[in-house]
């Protein structure tokens, strides 16, 4: 692999600096705060709880609902508050990414609400949101098979690189965000946006999975830090 140095000085397989904190809110059942590069993400989890939206509930298990939302001040040009098509799609795929890990069979007809707030966005918010949401779910005491973690790889200047920044995302040729369950390596989220050869795609997935494993360690550290004594 080349000695490519990226616009922010990172190596091709280097993540941006990450900070994760569990249990940052009082009212929510579970919460987490995550910074990666210039992204700042806050997640709150409520539930399992009763829901008035009966049609969403299932008789034999609990269900998850996600809401991904960007603050108006999170981007350079103020974003109008409220949902748009992009955030609706991300909300859906985030729920899909987290669902395989949840073990809500003992909570039939209940709802777990995950609220992801992008306080500041700098590329890769969906993966950051999923990573933070998993920590918040654990913090809420929701039973899970694994702690889902997200990370993206992509193609910039014909090179496959890890964890695209905002600039790289805009100028790059491809972006492949994934989420995995790290114990088994199963993939729970995959999107791909841009042009890749089959070989490049494989490389991107391998790199993104490596990235996920690194972030996974930080998730665990954050939880241990919050709850271990002395």
């Amino acid at each position: 692999m080349s000695e490519l140095i990226r616009e922010d000085g990172r190596k091709f397989d280097e993540l941006r600096p990450i900070k994760i904190e569990a249990g940052v809110l009082e009212r929510a059942d579970g919460s987490a705060y995550l910074e990666v590069g210039g992204n700042k993400i806050l997640v709150a989890v409520y539930g399992p709880r009763e829901s008035y939206i009966r049609r969403l509930l299932e008789p034999n298990t609990g269900v998850i609902r996600c809401r991904y939302n960007m603050a108006p001040f999170s981007v350079d040009d103020r974003k109008r508050p409220g949902p748009d098509r992009r955030s609706s799609e991300i909300s859906k795929i985030t729920a899909d990414a987290l669902r395989p890990a949840l073990m809500l069979e003992s909570y039939p007809r209940s709802m777990v609400d995950v609220y992801i707030e992008v306080i500041e966005a700098e590329g890769g918010t969906r993966c950051a949101g999923i990573t933070a949401a998993s920590v918040a779910l654990v913090d809420a005491g929701v039973p899970m098979r694994d702690i889902v973690v997200g990370c993206a790889a992509g193609k910039v200047s014909d090179e496959i690189v890890l964890d695209l920044s905002e600039v790289e995302d805009k100028e790059g040729q491809a972006d492949v965000p994934i989420a995995i369950m790290p114990r088994t390596g199963e993939i729970t989220l995959l999107q791909s946006d841009g042009n890749l050869t089959e070989e490049e795609f494989q490389k991107a997935i391998d790199l993104a999975m490596e990235g996920c494993m690194k972030v996974s360690e930080l998730q665990k550290e954050a939880l241990m830090k919050k709850y271990s004594v002395e």
Binding site: M103, Y107, R109, V138, G141, M144, I147, M224, S228
Partner: protein
């Protein structure tokens, strides 16, 4: 192969053991591996591996005693919020027998009751009853909320923690398995009790907690530390609520005496009504116990 130690903090997906162990609560099997499904502390006993959650929502279980608040009054039943994803119902028959009454004159929205779960249906709705001593509406006091998983710690081994708090603060304390705690005593003691209950909740997984709480209470109440006693062991076992029984009986006797006195002094409507309920409850109890009941009311969890 066991990868963790007793009382170790683990997180979801963490591999706890391979073969040689049985998966208990809070764990699941992934081929031959046993993994944690929760954030919690490992309990290893006789090759059985469990994870005791740090936090969880209360799921109604038949036989549990809970504290609930009336959230709605309907034609022949009350809806009861039992601090759970699932709500409870108290039927008029359970509270009043065959007697017909205006339900909201018996228990109204916002009333807080000590109840027993008599059954849980297939959608987890809890059917509630008042059968058992000390059950019924609370008068006065405060409600403190903790995570239901911390209830055993608050009670302590054979009630060591809760009895110590009761003794020091002179408060009456009733703990519902759904994480709601009723405390009644001197106004300042109620607040002090609230404070220490929250400390217990927060530090439930630390050792020597009973002594720490005792010291805190002694400092606050007597202004000095107590004479040193032996450290207490960490508790995993779900304690029996046996210790409640005497306490509750005592309370009920006091309450009945107080009510009687009050009633003599002023023939207040409300008190009358309360008496009626008490009366009805007693009748019902007698009725039940004469039917050679299967279990002792308050004795077990």
């Amino acid at each position: 192969m066991i990868y963790v130690e007793n009382k170790e903090l683990v997180i979801p997906g963490q591999i706890l053991a391979e073969d040689e162990c049985y998966p208990g609560r809070g764990t699941f099997k992934d081929n031959n591996r046993i993994c944690s499904s929760l954030i919690g502390l490992v309990s290893l006993r006789n090759k059985k591996i469990r994870v005791i959650p740090l936090k969880s929502k209360y799921i109604p279980k038949k036989g549990d005693v809970v504290i609930g608040k009336i959230s709605d009054v309907r034609f022949s039943m009350w809806d009861v919020d039992i601090n759970s994803p699932y709500s409870g119902i108290l039927s008029a028959f359970e509270a009043l027998g065959r007697d017909k009454k205006d339900l909201n004159r018996v228990f109204d929205v916002g009333d807080v009751l000590f109840l027993r779960i008599i059954d849980v249906d297939e959608v987890k709705k809890a059917k509630l009853g008042l059968k058992g001593r000390g059950m019924g509406k609370f008068k006065g006091g405060i409600i403190v909320e903790i995570s239901p998983t911390k209830v055993p710690r608050l009670i302590g081994k054979k009630g060591s923690m809760i009895n110590m708090i009761k003794n020091k603060t002179n408060c009456k304390i009733v703990v519902g398995q759904n994480g709601l705690v009723w405390v009644k005593g001197n106004e300042d003691m109620e607040q002090l009790t609230r404070e220490v209950i929250h400390v217990i909740e927060k530090e439930a997984h630390t050792s020597g907690l009973t002594n720490k709480i005792k010291n805190k209470l002694c400092l606050a109440i007597d202004g000095e530390l107590p004479v040193d006693e032996s450290e207490e062991e960490f508790i995993f076992e779900k304690p029996k609520l046996q210790n409640f029984k005497e306490e509750i009986e005592q309370e009920e006797r006091e309450e009945a005496a107080r009510l009687k006195k009050e009633q003599e002094e002023e023939n207040d409507d409300k008190n009358n009504l309360y008496e009626v309920i008490e009366e009805l409850k007693k009748n019902k109890e007698e009725e039940n116990s004469s039917q050679s009941d299967d279990s002792e009311d308050d004795s077990n969890v």
